[in-house]
């Protein structure tokens, strides 16, 4: 038994785009998640957060580094052992319209994992389990014979959750699981995820770009920028006391549903846009947009270091206390 349920060490995933062009989607990412906790991963589009999730459950092969699940390296498993692992890790996808097979009934979609892993001995056991799963996620048993197009976005996301739960996983990657949904439906799905976590002792990797949602659901949060984790801490610590200039800018940019606060908060606009992740130079990746950048930032790459309170940050300014 390992210390942590999931531990990611120095994970790298590069995409080769052609001659001498390498897109560094994930570049040396490390973190761990303890059992029963939720780890939030935030960042703007293209920062590599989805690639991290997909590499963890081995939808992509890693270029370097390890993903240890219960102490076993996911990327070294073969055959039967790998199949056993897929029972323990599942994923919920962003787009509930694209992630369900339109030609299968909801029952067949949910039951696919049960069949593959031979989890039910009799036909009756199989359908009972599907009914049970549907009820767990707040749908009813009549829905089993219907097709995905007959459902609304929120209901489809529930089907996606039921499919993930079918094989009794320990760990679920929620990749932007609620961002395609309307506000009032988002709250329903968040509540469902929280409730299931308590009931089934699940561990989540929660990938999202909505900061308020991540703050609500996660125990620990990491911020990614251009393939790297640039700051990582316990969620409240990170949001109340952000140290990396990018995190500070990101929090300032996210609007809150509070007009008085919005009117009076300091507006700090981050200038520019995210640079290209193709062949990045080994310097601080945020330096080109950073208002505090000094020559040092353009020469070396800051490492992710603990600055106390389990608060990790990859920034010379924060580490050395520049003013």
């Amino acid at each position: 038994m390992a210390d942590h349920l999931l531990e990611v060490k120095g994970l790298k995933k590069y995409f080769r785009l052609g001659k001498n062009q390498v897109l560094h989607a994930v570049d040396d990412v490390s973190f761990y998640i303890d059992e029963g906790r939720t780890f939030g991963l935030v960042g703007e589009s293209g920062c590599g957060k989805t690639t991290v999730g997909r590499t963890i459950i081995r939808l992509y092969d890693a270029d370097d580094g390890q993903v240890l699940f219960d102490g076993v390296d996911v990327h070294k498993l073969k055959g039967k052992e790998y199949k056993q692992l897929t029972r323990k890790m599942q994923m919920i996808f962003q787009d509930p319209y694209a992630s369900l097979d339109p030609r299968k009934t909801v029952g067949a979609i949910i039951g696919e994992g049960l069949k593959i892993h031979k989890l039910c001995r009799t036909k009756q056991e199989y359908s009972e389990r599907i009914y049970e799963l549907l009820e767990i996620v707040g749908l009813s048993r009549e829905h089993a014979s219907r097709f995905p197009h007959e459902f609304s976005g929120g209901q489809r996301q529930r089907v996606g959750i039921a499919r993930a739960l079918a094989v009794n996983p320990k760990f679920i990657v929620c990749d932007e699981a609620i961002s395609a949904l309307d506000v009032s439906i988002q709250a329903q799905i968040i509540n469902l995820l929280v409730e299931l976590q308590e009931k089934l002792k699940l561990t989540y990797l929660f990938i999202a770009h909505d900061l308020n949602v991540v703050r609500h659901i996660s125990d620990d949060t990491a911020v990614m920028y251009l393939g790297k984790i640039i700051e990582k801490a316990e969620t409240n610590e990170l949001f109340d006391n952000p140290m990396h200039p990018y995190t500070i800018g990101l929090l300032a940019a996210a609007p809150e549903a509070d007009p008085d606060y919005e009117k009076n908060r300091p507006h700090m606009l981050m200038s520019g846009e995210v640079p290209s992740p193709i062949n990045p130079a080994p310097v601080c990746r945020f330096a080109s947009r950073c208002p505090y950048a000094r020559p040092k930032c353009m020469e070396a790459e800051p490492e992710l270091k603990d600055i106390g309170n389990n608060h990790y940050v990859a920034c010379f300014k924060a580490q050395e206390g520049w003013i």
């Binding site: 703007e44 439906i185 709250a187 329903q188 300032a252 609007p255 809150e256 008085d260 606060y261």
Partner: protein, 345 residues
């Protein structure tokens, strides 16, 4: 009394499909004052986009069909304007920016020409003058090196930059109203903040009224002076931004505000609205929110409530506003700002 630039009165709009009639907009009345920002908020399918597209007559008919209602622009009835008359308004008097800047720009045309096209259409000026105006406008919306960018194609820009081009195109003829249909939904937070700031700044500069359509209450809080909340094709509540956020009177508004995670709350469960919005093929007879409402009364299922003004500029369409109805204190947002003030932070 403020000058009303736009007034929509009792608009009914439907789509005729093979499956039947979709009643997308069912009696919407709203107005836009000069120089203000109005936000229309609602979930997908509530008719918010249809309402504003209908003002500019951008919906092909059929399948769209205007059933009844009037639209007044600067006091003039434009409801029955011909396509030719509308062409004079579009771009010159009112213009629109869309959610997805990639699909709304012409991919085969240099962006400079796309911007200049509008000026040439509406004003009697030479090509060269139009070009200068377009370049100037590109600079105003924060595109670096406008001279060079003038000759670029849309695919050479990032999402945020394309949205800036859209804004340049929309504002180049100095329209009185700018409609922004989910202008930042496809963008990242930091880019979103830049675009919202830009819209605000140009609004001040040109004195344009802005109608922003969105489902994101954070965006609303940042930009809007007045808000109209829509549900199932109707405006259920409208008022000044502060009233809507801190003192909502309609259970739907209150539920929507409560279902957003906020930084102050510690509880892990969010208050959510159960159920889903009604099917607009056959909308319910009574209040459309009644099946999901926790305060639902008998009358709510029988009759549609009218939009009644309860306080200064604050109108609500709910039977709870009736003198005989029981009174509830509906929860709204708590302002972090005033809380901080009280605590002396």
């Amino acid at each position: 009394m403020q000058e009303r630039i736009l007034e929509i009165k009792d608009l009914f709009f439907s789509f005729d499909t093979y499956a039947g009639e979709v009643q997308a907009v069912r009696g919407v009345s709203l107005h836009v004052n000069k120089g203000e920002t109005l936000a229309i908020v609602g979930e997908s399918g509530c008719g918010k986009s249809v309402t504003i597209q209908n003002v500019m007559k951008l919906i092909p008919s059929p399948p769209g069909r205007l059933k009844s209602g009037k639209i007044f622009y600067c006091g003039e009835d434009i409801t029955n304007y011909t396509p030719k008359q509308m062409q004079k308004l579009r771009g010159k008097e009112m213009s629109m920016i869309f959610q997805d800047p990639m699909t709304s720009l012409n991919p085969t045309m240099r962006i400079g020409r796309q911007i200049a096209e509008g000026i040439l259409k509406h004003e009697k000026i030479s090509q060269a003058e139009a070009r200068d105006r377009a370049v100037q406008m590109l600079g105003k919306v924060g595109i670096s090196n406008p001279e060079k960018s003038y000759r670029r194609y849309p695919h050479q820009f990032s999402g945020g930059m394309r949205q800036r081009v859209m804004i340049a195109m929309a504002l180049v003829c100095n329209p009185k109203i700018l409609f922004a249909d989910e202008p930042t939904t496809a963008l990242d937070v930091t880019t979103q903040a830049q675009i919202l700031e830009l819209i605000n700044q140009l609004k001040e500069e040109f004195g344009t009224s802005v109608v922003i359509v969105t489902h994101d209450l954070g965006v609303v809080a940042r930009t809007a002076e007045r808000i109209a909340v829509m549900y199932a094709g109707k405006v259920v509540e409208t008022g000044i931004a502060r009233d809507i956020f801190y003192n909502p009177k309609h259970p739907y508004t209150s539920g929507l505000l409560e279902s957003m995670p906020s930084s102050g709350k510690s509880s892990k469960t969010l208050t959510s609205i159960p159920g889903t919005p009604p099917d607009l093929f056959s909308p319910p007879k009574g209040c459309s929110f009644a099946p999901r409402c926790k305060y639902c009364m008998k009358i709510c299922q029988e009759m549609m409530p009218d939009l009644i003004e309860v306080e200064n500029q604050h109108s609500v369409s709910c039977w709870l506003m009736h003198p005989q109805a029981p009174k509830y204190e509906l929860p709204g947002r708590k302002s972090r700002f005033t809380q901080n003030l009280k605590e002396g932070i």
